[in-house]
Symmetry: C2
Subunit: 361 residues, 2 copies
């Protein structure tokens, strides 16, 4: 099963430098060192430094590690809301974030639109200002993105709310103005091309103040992965628990590699590959139909199309035979959709090859 | 930094087959496959099969994956208690388990003895029967073990309580009669010699019934990693979130390797190595003093000694120069203790070398 390229929306193709970094990690005993040692602290410091540079993160924003983005859904609701969260829902993942809030006994409200649709803020129903506004930058199940300008508009509309952005399948692509949001999180097996099992949670002082307010009111905000606990550890370049040390090491290495390549270049490459995919899906409109109608809501990093007349599995199998693994549709769309991931590790040549396959099929 | 042996109590030396399994995993694209694919389900099924064999687990006990053992402390309290937990505390880790319960607003009671001491059940103060009795089989910070017979005695004393055993630094060594406990958990970076970032949680039907009872009473038991959610996924050989796929793959491979070697052999080897370490620490009693006085409370897998007259760091550095990395003391004992891990991957020859170093120093 060599020479296979995974254009799957996560887990996905490993970033091309990862196998070499893993070999180095084994040689340097990264998996055996103590998580309370200077060596480990240096690994954390290195990862934080390169993530900060990659995101051009303001100094008053913190970074902490969790086990997954799924975990952050839970921790964010526990730490950043006492009663009322508001969710923009347009697919399975934004919906799960909303459902977590209900499971945690919050008054969770949602503005829901159909899968494949984006949000037109002029049509937003009236909601009381929430404590926590939960946005999904890129709905991985359907390939719908939320334009950054819309996030900034919501900031103006709800200045008191904490705004948290699920950027799981879009980072490091979007050039986010962090001063317009309070928190952002992602997992590493998508845009960063790393083995799964690590989440990254970025948050600011307002988030911390909210968690501490809940704590002072006698509310439970969890234990080792509460914001105050995460922060106390990360300020020592540590983690509360023994974490996925190899994952943190690899994340630092890949963030460094990406910084060396340049985030501007990476963004341009992603846009060029997205243009190829969207162009050829539309060119082959006898076989494919884009799932997201409004071009401004089409994701650059997860491209979703309906396969016409034939089962999506046929095209997926055809591509697999040629060495490209595509994502199948999510949930109800499993038999009908293809999902094409467009992450930094994916080569333009692979997209050109995929375009040829669209024509040939 | 090659030819170094990590006798550290976790993270520790990788199990000797792990580097090769990682190479195979990379070749077979284990880190890129979908966590909703048949390939992933096979990886999970394989890991479960070999863990069940290794633990000789009764069929009515389930296995689920978390990110760490630390996580299980939290999830267990959330899912297995409404009000009252009882903890046997004799070191930093058993104490943290107790503190988690307080942070989660339970009425957490403890029977605490000094670090380095074990529990004599005849001296146990009277406690109301708890919902959840939290035991630490092997206190990693001090090298104190709890004889299995004592656990079984507590079962008779508190038949209504759920009994959960933290076996983080002892598995797969103890031959536990699972019918005498309800739950057991560990992380993989110790006895299994795997990269950190994965926890294993074993639980029975009584645990599940308790979680469902709490749920039916409208209590929050968390979200994706509640017991019912974990179980619903694992019964499909899946996990609720995108997990540490590589970790699960490696765990299955190492459990298979251990089954091939034979758990009986592994246990005998651990006992033989423990005998070497304890014998030579006592033989060099001008330099070392065993921290655990009662032989029946001395751990076979984490051996702790006080270093006499000189800083512990001197002996640790001496051993490091000779290619053996020892654990330093935990917490307040950092400057005074050495901790020697004795896991399945550690060779008898390394222990003999360590014995020589004790004499030479």
């Amino acid at each position: 099963m060599n020479h296979v390229y995974f254009l799957t929306p996560g887990p996905s193709q490993l970033y091309y430098t990862v196998p070499q970094h893993i070999k180095t990690a084994l040689k340097e005993h990264i998996c055996s060192i103590s998580h309370r040692s200077k060596s480990f602290q240096q690994i954390v410091a290195h990862a934080l430094e390169h993530l900060r540079a990659l995101f051009q993160l303001p100094t008053d924003y913190y970074i902490a590690f969790t086990a997954s983005a799924t975990e952050v859904w839970e921790r964010a609701i526990e730490n950043l809301s006492q009663e009322y969260t508001l969710h923009l829902v347009n697919g399975n993942f934004s919906k799960k974030f909303y459902e977590f809030s209900k499971q945690l006994k919050r008054n969770a409200q949602k503005w829901e639109v159909s899968p494949g649709k984006g949000f037109y803020l002029s049509e937003m129903p009236p909601f009381d200002p929430p404590e926590l506004l939960c946005l999904t930058h890129n709905e991985t199940s359907t390939g719908v993105t939320m334009p950054l300008e819309d996030i900034y508009t919501l900031r103006k509309r709800y200045p008191e709310a904490l705004i948290i952005v699920d950027a799981v399948s879009s980072v490091p692509y979007p050039e986010i103005d962090f001063s317009q949001i309070d928190s952002l999180f992602f997992s590493v097996q998508k845009g960063f091309g790393l083995p799964a099992g690590l989440g990254v949670w970025i948050f600011n002082q307002r988030c911390l103040a909210k968690a501490e307010e809940l704590l002072s009111k006698g509310k439970s905000i969890g234990t080792y992965h509460s914001l105050p606990s995460l922060l106390a550890s990360i300020q020592k370049n540590e983690t509360p628990e023994t974490p996925n040390v190899l994952g943190i090491y690899l994340l630092g290495k890949v963030a460094e590699d990406m910084n060396r390549r340049g985030i501007k270049t990476i963004r341009q490459e992603i846009e060029a590959k997205a243009a190829i995919a969207y162009h050829h899906l539309q060119k082959n409109n006898d076989k494919f139909s884009l799932f997201v109608n409004d071009p401004s809501h089409r994701s650059a990093t997860v491209i979703v199309a309906e396969v016409l007349h034939r089962p999506a599995a046929d095209f997926i199998e055809f591509c697999k035979q040629k060495g490209i693994v595509l994502g199948s549709g999510y949930g109800n769309f499993k038999g009908v959709h293809i999902r094409i991931a467009n992450f930094p590790t994916h080569a333009k040549e692979t997209f050109q090859h995929l375009a040829d396959l669209m024509a040939q099929w």
